[in-house]
Amino acid sequence: MLLDSLFNGVAIGSVLLVAALGLAIVFGLMGVINLAHGELMMLGAYTTYVTQLIFKLPLLKPYYNSYVIVSIFFAFIVSGVVGILLEKTVIRKLYGSPLETLLATWGVSLILQQFVRSVPLAYGTGLVISLIIGLFLPTVFSPKVKESINFKYVKFSSWIFASLAGVLSGHLIASSVSKLSRASARNVDVTAPAWMRGQVEILGTAFPKTRLMIIIITLISVIAITLFLNQSAWGMRIRAVTQNREMSDCLGISTEKVDVLTFGIGSGLAGVAGVAVSLLGSVGPNVGGNYIVGCFMVVVLGGVGNLLGTIFASFGIGIMTDLIGAGRLLSIWPDMPLPLSNTINFFATTSMARVMIFALIVIFLQFKPTGLFPQKGRMVES
Amino acid sequence: MNKNNNSLLSLENITVSFEGFLALNDLNLSLKKGELRAVIGPNGAGKTTFLDVITGKVKPTRGEVFFKGKSLIGRKEHKIARLGVGRKFQSPRVFENLTVKENLEISVSTPKSPLNLINKKIKNGQLDEIEHLMQVINLSKKINTKAGALSHGQKQWLEIAMLLGQKPDLMLVDEPVAGLTDEETDLTADLLKSLSGENTVVVIDHDMEFIRRLDSNVSVLNQGTVLCEGTMDTIQNDKKVIDVYLGRPEE
């Protein structure tokens, strides 16, 4: 019983965590709230769908079972690249004005939503492919080439190549997978491969495998991001820039590159969250919107700039949602006084649980306005 | 309690620690009514933190601040301001989107409740006060100019006028001559000097020429504590001060 509740809470919490992780990293490290985060998740979810269909092609059919794993990588790259584009075109101009960033990213989220409605997924995929090539091709050249005056021609021609590749691949996908060749505003469904369906029994309780899979995805994401930030050279650069932007610049770190990378990783994590979300229900243009406010609550409750805060807040909210929303308190304590049990019954739906949790968060903020784990010392200076 | 009764302001054993770093370390300082006091010290000596503690922006880890016999610890910034502590910031902080007159209106208006401000016209006496202040700072012609369009020196003076308009018993002035020309610096020194006597003024600055011109008692802060106090001449010959500013005497 208790285990059941705990599992459910952890399952809800891990969806929240994987969804909020990217948002919290970008907010914590760069001070930017990205309202298009939900739509980056949506892109991740659609990537899963597209990957699934492509793996149904005869050539890839034998590997169909592994498509979920592959789509995690794809989703990370797709959302990450769109995020990088977003940083380079919009966000960069608005550092230091967080409210303006909020509004601009909302505009981006509208465009992305309408994009998946009006553009056939095959050509959308093609566009993303050309973005990936266009952004990354120029970076493979040696520094010598980069510094030469003619580099802009190199850039230009790689974009031409990228667009060609995009159009071709879009056309290829459209002609081989008919479901992707037409635009549609309708929701689509991702079906889990056979090995992920059904339940596992642990300690006498049955747990759905998809939920377990999501917990694993979350766990891997958290571990990967922690390792990246703490062990890699770029992780060190990111941490340095966050803690002392000016000095990092003076030490030779290109803060511009760090910003792009940080935003790209945060966005990529949104894509991974999208894979998780696609396993839970149908995928539509609005799928991200359903999760984004939950993410905000996590960020507000967890405090800025601390992964631990995000983790605690996610699981805290997850467990609370389950306790309140499923009316579990009543089954744990059956003989509680009537007025109390009436109140609990009143809040015993998922949406009413949100109401209750919001009230609790507002009360909590009266005592700790900076969240569970406030960042100590120097704030993010961007 | 070791409270000096004829002092307007006294700081007793103030310690401020930011995550283990001691910004102020057992600082003691007291001011008589009507006194002009200059505070100097090397960078990082804790001068601005010292003002932050008095105005309620920073809560000290230890120690007491008494102003007119009342403790200031734990009071909100606006309450301390209403008690009669006015502050001028390091770089001039005037409301750039408001005109000179509107800036001054904000400072002279009392009572400072929303209801009073939205309901009532400004009192005639307060208008006269504004008129007077604009003459003092020589901005009568710019009455309807946005403060953002003033020159740096004019902004510094507008902020000093705003400070005066609050009619504080204690004026805390942080680097009033930063970025001013020599001439403006001298005028500012004279202005501040003329204010003391009636007002109690604390001036923080780096510019020694300026401090000398103030011709007042000087407190030297170093590493969060008062190193020495006295007239400019005493200070200049104090061995500890020379050490701080010049390093150890040459072997």
Partner: protein, 378 residues
């Protein structure tokens, strides 16, 4: 936040008003009923936009939750209409209660039998809710994006709450008003709608005068002071929490009135009024019109909504693209909105503006201090 505060010159204001008023007077005779009704709705949205301008344009508080107060006003109006028109239904209570087996009017709806109470409730209740929410948030010096996302979370919470409560407020279905009666006439009737159009136009003008009065004198200057340099206001002896709470409450009240007028003209109030996109749109009306100008809020609300309905009819799919693009364009290229642009040196600097030049921060260290202060206080 850095932006210039513009005061529209008397002449510009007058010209714009003459255009607006002559258009309003002419509208009933030139527009077909359907369009007139739309125009009436958009005019009512101008009132909530005025509130957004007060809190965002003047005070720097970006609320993404004005839909809460808008909907509350709408619910108050709709419930009054339903109760007064419920004589033919069982138990003399609105019809929908019967569907969920509710026999008695829930106690909190009881006062809505009184027209005077209802008329007051339309703006007092949203104002109170806004005031309470605002006070709890401002008291802890929560501001900037934190404030914005908290208001957005609050919006979603209210949405969930209203969506889930069938027995009390008819949940997802909302409350209809077009089949109710007022003064013996159907609210949805043409003559009644014409009347509401005039009423809305009148209230828009009144709300503008009221907002103008609020921001005109010293009170308004303090709001601008809070927006530009809140600590400085505090050190001058003012308590920003009070000012912010009051202005947020005023904006809530305006939103309530706006919601009520919108409801009677659209014929229904439902939790849809509390969706996230709608509340953010309110902000963009103001941004496009020109924040801190009041008139810009009115123009922005009316024109964008009109454009929206025209574009949506012609090319249904493209409105989202246009709107999204508008958000990005206004924020990056026209931070002072259309009115600000016209009033300022916009037309001359057209090209330069599209070069997206960044303003130089005047006192970087000071601005960073301000920005971080909200998060760092203890």
């Amino acid at each position: 936040m850095e932006f210039k505060n513009l005061k529209l010159s008397k002449k510009t204001t007058l010209i714009i008003w003459v255009i607006i008023i002559s258009f309003i007077i002419a509208a009933p005779s030139i527009l077909p009923v359907f369009r007139l009704n739309l125009l009436g709705r958009y005019l009512s949205l101008a009132i909530v936009a005025l509130g957004v301008d007060l809190i965002w344009g003047f005070t720097g508080l970006l609320s993404l939750g004005q839909g809460i107060f808008f909907a509350l006003g709408g619910y108050c109006a709709a419930m009054y209409l339903q109760i007064t028109s419920s004589s033919e239904f069982p138990n003399n209570i609105p019809e929908f209660f019967g569907l969920y087996g509710v026999d008695n009017l829930p106690f909190f709806w009881e006062p809505f039998r009184s027209p005077i109470f209802s008329l007051l409730a339309i703006w007092v209740i949203p104002a109170l809710v806004a005031g309470m929410l605002g006070f709890l948030v401002f008291r802890n010096r929560i501001k900037g994006v934190y404030f914005s996302i908290l208001t957005q979370a609050a919006l979603l919470v209210f949405f969930n709450f209203f969506n889930g409560q069938q027995k009390l407020i008819n949940g997802t279905n909302g409350l209809k008003t077009d089949v109710t009666q007022l003064f013996g006439q159907m609210v949805g009737s043409e003559s009644m709608q014409r009347m509401f159009f005039w009423l809305t136009a009148l209230i828009v003008v009144a709300a503008w005068f009221f907002s103008k009065w609020v921001v005109k004198g010293r009170f308004g200057n303090i709001l601008i002071g809070i927006r530009d340099d809140e600590p400085r206001v505090r050190f001058t002896g003012y308590n920003p929490v009070l000012f912010k709470t009051i202005i947020f409450s005023i904006a809530g009240g305006l939103a309530g009135i706006s919601g009520a007028l919108y409801t009677v003209q659209s014929g229904i109030v439902s939790p849809q009024f509390m969706t996230v996109p709608f509340s953010i749109e309110m902000v963009i009306w103001v941004a496009v019109g020109g924040r801190g100008t009041l008139l810009g809020a009115i123009l922005g609300a009316v024109f964008i909504n009109y454009a929206k309905s025209l574009v949506s009819e012609a090319l249904p799919a493209s409105w989202m693209f246009i709107q999204g693009g508008l958000f990005i364009l206004v924020v990056t290229a026209l931070p002072e909105g259309v009115l600000g642009w016209v009033q300022g040196e916009g037309p001359r600097n057209l090209l330069q503006r599209f070069g997206l030049k960044r303003k130089i921060e005047t006192y970087p260290s000071l601005e960073i201090k301000n920005k971080t202060e909200g998060l760092k206080n203890e």
